[in-house]
Symmetry: C5
Subunit: 359 residues, 5 copies
Amino acid sequence: MRELIKDYAPPGTAPGALTAPKGEAGQAKIHLLEYRGEQVNTVEIADLTHLQQQLADRYPSSAVTWVHVVGLGDLKILQGLQDLFKLHPLAMEDVTHLGQRPKAENYDAMMFVVLQHLAFLKNEIQTTQVALFVGKDFVLSLQPLGPDLLEPLRARILSSRGRLRERDADYLAYAIIDIIVDAAFPVLEDFGERLDALEQDIVGRPSPRIMNTLYRLRRQLLRLRRVLWPQREALSRLIHEEEGLVSDEVKVYLRDSSDHAVQAMDVVENYREMAASLLDVHISNTTNRLTDVMRVLTVIATVFMPLNFVVGLYGMNFDRSSPWNMPELGWRFGYLMVWGVLLVIVIAMLVYFRRKRWI
Amino acid sequence: MRELIKDYAPPGTAPGALTAPKGEAGQAKIHLLEYRGEQVNTVEIADLTHLQQQLADRYPSSAVTWVHVVGLGDLKILQGLQDLFKLHPLAMEDVTHLGQRPKAENYDAMMFVVLQHLAFLKNEIQTTQVALFVGKDFVLSLQPLGPDLLEPLRARILSSRGRLRERDADYLAYAIIDIIVDAAFPVLEDFGERLDALEQDIVGRPSPRIMNTLYRLRRQLLRLRRVLWPQREALSRLIHEEEGLVSDEVKVYLRDSSDHAVQAMDVVENYREMAASLLDVHISNTTNRLTDVMRVLTVIATVFMPLNFVVGLYGMNFDRSSPWNMPELGWRFGYLMVWGVLLVIVIAMLVYFRRKRWI
Amino acid sequence: MRELIKDYAPPGTAPGALTAPKGEAGQAKIHLLEYRGEQVNTVEIADLTHLQQQLADRYPSSAVTWVHVVGLGDLKILQGLQDLFKLHPLAMEDVTHLGQRPKAENYDAMMFVVLQHLAFLKNEIQTTQVALFVGKDFVLSLQPLGPDLLEPLRARILSSRGRLRERDADYLAYAIIDIIVDAAFPVLEDFGERLDALEQDIVGRPSPRIMNTLYRLRRQLLRLRRVLWPQREALSRLIHEEEGLVSDEVKVYLRDSSDHAVQAMDVVENYREMAASLLDVHISNTTNRLTDVMRVLTVIATVFMPLNFVVGLYGMNFDRSSPWNMPELGWRFGYLMVWGVLLVIVIAMLVYFRRKRWI
Amino acid sequence: MRELIKDYAPPGTAPGALTAPKGEAGQAKIHLLEYRGEQVNTVEIADLTHLQQQLADRYPSSAVTWVHVVGLGDLKILQGLQDLFKLHPLAMEDVTHLGQRPKAENYDAMMFVVLQHLAFLKNEIQTTQVALFVGKDFVLSLQPLGPDLLEPLRARILSSRGRLRERDADYLAYAIIDIIVDAAFPVLEDFGERLDALEQDIVGRPSPRIMNTLYRLRRQLLRLRRVLWPQREALSRLIHEEEGLVSDEVKVYLRDSSDHAVQAMDVVENYREMAASLLDVHISNTTNRLTDVMRVLTVIATVFMPLNFVVGLYGMNFDRSSPWNMPELGWRFGYLMVWGVLLVIVIAMLVYFRRKRWI
Amino acid sequence: MRELIKDYAPPGTAPGALTAPKGEAGQAKIHLLEYRGEQVNTVEIADLTHLQQQLADRYPSSAVTWVHVVGLGDLKILQGLQDLFKLHPLAMEDVTHLGQRPKAENYDAMMFVVLQHLAFLKNEIQTTQVALFVGKDFVLSLQPLGPDLLEPLRARILSSRGRLRERDADYLAYAIIDIIVDAAFPVLEDFGERLDALEQDIVGRPSPRIMNTLYRLRRQLLRLRRVLWPQREALSRLIHEEEGLVSDEVKVYLRDSSDHAVQAMDVVENYREMAASLLDVHISNTTNRLTDVMRVLTVIATVFMPLNFVVGLYGMNFDRSSPWNMPELGWRFGYLMVWGVLLVIVIAMLVYFRRKRWI
């Protein structure tokens, strides 16, 4: 359950110390995008000097700058960005500690937002941490190595679809948040299908493996909840931000994202309830199966026990010279009589069980 | 469990893009109704130019305009309405994404309300999403294809029953909300009858199928709750709206609707508790049935096992020439004696079980 | 479970329409009581003109007027009262819809309070809805047909016991509320005795019927809770009322009633917990009983199975001419030896089971 | 479960009517204590005139007066105190109705506090209700008949230990509250030891009686909670009192008491969780025991059933004149062969069960 | 469960009385550290006079003073510190009563913070109480005997790593809190590994001992929660402190600590849910095992019972002289026919069970 704990520096480390996430030693890639109305400019940055220069030459001066970093393994770059944009060391530490709880915080003239992007890969829920710094005229976004999650947004800006290029940095931030929040819905839909499949198994083809499947689903629901619950709070904090970084107009958009986050959370809560109900059905089924097994045993045993007694009775070796000792054995139709007795017993038993609705 | 997730645009789509709900390709129908006191005017609108013209000719100028759209499949009409009434694109997007969580939101000079109308059809709970835009002198309501849910209200206005025609757009909005909120009660009443029937089955005629019925009911309760819980919030937000769109007098009426919503929610919560109690009774019944089965087996087995031992004993073939080998077999009344022993055993057993209250 | 849903008008009915509760077609009775200090005047009113006249002649002018209506079946009277006291139509509608959630609401210059009077009748919980309109100098109370719940209070006023006659309408309202709130305690006491009886049964004389009793009790607890929980809120709203209808001095008294309501609610919550605990004990008892049954079966079966094997063994018919075929049968003390073997088996088994603490 | 309901006057009784608690007909004892710095004066009061006189002669005028009443059976005394200190009749009614929920309330120039003192006596939790009226320069405390709970505090004042004598009435009230709040800890400690003992029984020596013990403990936990939960609230209300009856300095002390109350409540909540966990362990143990029993039965039965079949087979009486009828019976080593077969069956069974880890 | 209750003075003790914790009679050690920028001075204090002198000589005057006390057994020293720093007696009492709930409180010009340091030692969770007094220019920290928890921080200050020496007392307090809060993560990581191991056992190798392990884990989770839950509150209070003791800049750091505390709490809550899910899986496994056992018994018994009946049948001793008595015994292939019947029975049974999916 290591996955439930965020990365952390060993206790006693000085706060704000940067460490690369595990397995991220590769070179980070930096995408720079500047736009304002008709003008748009995109460039892949090789090193920080290049970036610094680009930022200085910004044209037009009212342009929105978006720096997107993929890969957190190059601490020099992170340190450079921290100095360049004057980021708070604690925020930068949170960027490198993956597995953070989603949150939004105010640092002086900047909003710092951490979100978790959800995906369903190889039957497991994958979370990718995306961190955002939102300033007056720039957005700095950072994600660990892997497929670039914001590629579709960059394409949208370049092809000038949507209202994006007319707007300021806060709307860009909203657009990024919107992509990450909405990524939950396909995951939830997949999940719902798996719950449906489980439901069909439980109702129709009970098997002991069901319990393990149910357990795995509940564990994944817990993970979904861990990500979605605080995301709601983070968005609400953005909406109620009062430093003027987010305009009222963009807040209306963020309210919509917040609404989506609430709906996603709602679905998770409903899934949890369904899973609990399914557990009850499964347990009840198990007991029913046990009762069925016992009923068969009981019917068979109670039918044959008296039969065995009767046939055992006439297997006794009493001395037949006494007329009182088992005269039945000497009767002409003794054997048929025994069969008659056995039949009566069997029929009586069956009638009794039929009345009890056991057969 | 697809039903638990609202419609959504694929992540990465530009916000505010309109898409028709699944299976709604038909032509939308538009009802226009204008009234003020004695004057009332109703007309079915064929296309948007017609509507535009009608709105321009509005007479008297103080009239309340109600535009009701049935069918969300014609995107041109939706786009036209959006331009005509200056609706926010995000609100319009919510209108076409069915399965929304009920909510009420402020958009500039308008209230936007989404509610879910409940009905019990073909043994399943059906929800129909109704969206309202409430302005100073108009109400725009939209619902997907299907029977016109607000037909009775239009009839009431035309026949001038109730206080409706004297009042403003906010009261009309209340009247629409009232119909949708109160639709929950007949559904809850039906549901209560089904719970009562289940209760009788559980107490009187236990069967393994009960668990599945109970499961289905719990699942439906969850759906009811999903709709009714946020509806409460939405109404409360309308009551505390402070932009002046809703007058204090109408707020008193909305408070009543809110009260009904709370009562409906209350009933759902109580049903949930009853369902949980019924589950406990059912599980206890199952265990009791198992115990009953086992008791029968135990009584039969413990009565016949000693009997079988006794008759087996005298079936042994020891050499009778030794006087120590089963002299009983030679006794004159040996057989009767065995019967006596058997009877004593049976009676002792029965007395023992009677004392233990097993029979 | 119809009882859980309040009466409601069919959806689509105009708000504020009055309908008589089911089975209340009788003539309503109206008691009028006016008092101020030494002066007191009581009269049974036949029709509304009479009431109107009485109210006009009010003497002294500072008198408190209390109109108590028993029976809600005469809509003309209700309509007349509504006009006379200028009651809000929605409030009046709530009066006739029995089964309301207790509440207190402000209507202009009036408080409107709905409470549910509890009683334990014929082994069932009975609720009677009492509605109050409290104005500056009058109280109008309404209850459905049945025994007059406020008779004792009228007697107290007439006999001048207590502080009542010196005080204003708000204190009268408090006195009415006090009677209704305190009616919960004897019901809870009865209920506690039934829980105690059930506890004794569960601990001492377990039987399968217990589950049904427990279920009925839980269902009744739910009903108690439904009434008592919102009653708390209603009282709290009265205490924090700010229109000046309730004086600070009377608020101290209402605080006491609120305290009683909280205590009643507390008791219900505790009963719920006790019922849950009792359920656990009962289920554990059931499993224990099953284990007991199985233990008896196991002991009997495991003792007799080897015995049956041994006696079956010597019932085989091997040809005794071979010296290797069951020479035991020819031994002089073979039979006694078998008995010895059987005894050893039985004793060994019993020792084994004693060690396992099964017998 | 009578104990869960506070005493109450029959519904319809005029509010504020005094009735003696059950079994308290004895003469009440009144202790008067006056102190200020070096001066201290204690006297046992016989009747109210005496008390009145004492209070009039108060010396020095700045002295703090503490009147402690043990026994609530003498209504004349209670009435006298009510008049003397101008106590609110509703507060006085609460004093005589034992079993109150702890609370703190403001009555004009006085605080009224009700607390429940906890003790563990004869294996049962005992609660003693202590009521306090705190004025500017006096404290009136009342408790039912029994050992004087505040004796240690009086001794402390007389012997001048602690800071008490330098301080005002509010600190005296704190000192009383402190004693009552802290009395919960030894009770909780005792309780913890009993839970530990139960834990050891459940883990080590399971028996069906455990369920009843566990039930009794849960019932007592409920009672503890009923007392401790509202006590927290009462203290918080005292701390936020704003009438100036409690000085800021004493509020610091009350905050400490409140902290203790929170800790006591915390412990109760933890105990409740532990009890729930223990219940789970116990139920799991019960099922395990059942499984063990069944396993023994199954092993024995499945071993002996084939054996019995084999020996029964050779007990058949087929006519040996046909060579096809049971030639084995005529074999020289037939009997030994049967033993061989039986041994093989037994060994195969045992190997099978060993593999299944049943033996 | 003694561990759940904090130390307490016997009820009736005067508030603020100091008592040494159990087993702490040793001499307390006092570390004094003064720093400001480049200057740093550390000294081990032997007695209080020494400390007093050191504090008087403070140089430079703007230095931050940190006094860390290890060992609470020397009451004279505690009393001396209380006088020297003017600590509130109630706070000092809390320092010596170990097992406190974490909290932060304001005492005049000082913050008083109590935290619990977590560690995993010898398979048990160990908590060490650390108390802090934070003033304008000093921090006084106290911990019971044992390894010095703050040694790493002192080393960091001396070696001038981090930003510590440039900052004021509030940052020092933060640094101490940070160490204690972050100590939870390694404990939680260990705990997660143990839960994972348990999960593997439950899914793969079920055994009755699992229940006890699970119980122990739940008990430890409860303890973790007891410490982590209020820690959150304490940090939140520090962040919202308004007396000016904590600068805004340090509050940003404390917000980070608070964030970590929330994350730790979150993990504990998730563990609790996982433990509950594991319990469900384990219980379901147990029932499945029981069902398996019963199924084997039922299959064996139902196969052999008819076989035993058949062979018993032909063991009867009817007089063969009558042609109606068991003519089968005389048939040439009677014995083979019986074997045929037996085989048919066995095969029919096996087919039946295969169809029921029991084998």
